[in-house]
Symmetry: C3
């Protein structure tokens, strides 16, 4: 698929929890990490989303927060993937930060330049990519 | 309304599906396209959202993904509007892509420069603007 | 916590409404404003989210819309915080707008340069920071 979403993870559906309007889908990545997606119940039905199915999970880079120190906090975002910063590309206002996960996948986050300075983001640093389940779009082969 | 959301579509509510906490609202645009919004049940009540009502649907440009080739994939995002790219405005890290829909509406998407190169985005190209129902804010005249 | 989310509000949980998959959490800020967060039911359980608990609410700047004139419209976004613009930082494509709330908190929004011109955004102006409940991540001390 040719899509502008910087993050496109291949995985397998591990669990589907259906609500009245929305559903929560757990996707296992090849490296062992899990991505949680919140999609509508109608999409689950339309795409025949079910355990064992191969999917891709799309996440736009501006939806991803970079955390370098939780300072004793636990957070509600369902996706918290720790890795190592492999690239920091500066722009005029925003910067793209790339984080490599242990399992081989890579996540891109767009953050403001101020955040890069405040957090002292640099290549080689350990960081956690954080994004909500609602930021994830799922794709299946038709 | 004067708001910074680049996308402000005028439409009419065609359907409202209520869940325990959230609701799904279908908005028909003048050109025949439909936009699906996921808002809280409380907002449906506060704004008296109901079939037939005129609304505006607001979507921020960074929430929109541009897809040029689905490569056999179907995706969970409820909003997938195909059109023609009318403008590609480059910045240092990000680019704004404008897509004209057949019905006359226009959608702006903010994507990274890397995506513009990878997808070969250019004026005149056919592309699909993709965004989740959760990215849509509805406005009604009070 | 060291996180790239530009907006990190300290507050106290005032109300928790649980649905089948998602939950809505109301957080009172020290200045009297309320922030509404939509998180999954599982996060409510995992973080022991309950009335009276201290939390931080994280919101990324690209998720925030700036409204200067509602023009008679009421909108579905659960978070609408009015304040005064204290800074407008221009980039090549995007601009960061800072809005000070009456209670002392500050909100950063990333908007396009076109919006800055269209809305005539400037320091000292009254503006409302608008964001959906789904854009909010909650953090609790563990």
């Amino acid at each position: 698929m040719k899509a502008s979403a910087r993050n496109q993870f291949s995985g397998t559906i591990k669990e589907v929890i259906i609500g009245a309007v929305n559903a929560e889908v757990h996707v296992g990545l090849k490296g062992g990490e899990t991505i949680v997606a919140s999609i509508t119940k109608e999409s689950v039905e339309n795409l025949a989303i079910e355990t064992g199915k191969k999917v891709i999970a799309l996440v736009k880079a501006p939806q991803v927060i970079v955390v370098t120190d939780f300072g004793g906090y636990r957070i509600s975002a369902r996706n918290q993937l720790e890795g190592t910063i492999t690239d920091v590309k500066h722009g005029a206002v925003n910067t793209e930060v790339d984080i490599a996960l242990p399992g081989g996948d890579k996540i891109a986050a767009t953050v403001t330049n101020d955040s890069v300075e405040t957090l002292g983001l640099r290549k080689g640093q350990t960081a956690t990519a954080v994004f909500k389940a609602g930021a994830v779009i799922l794709g299946v082969q038709s």
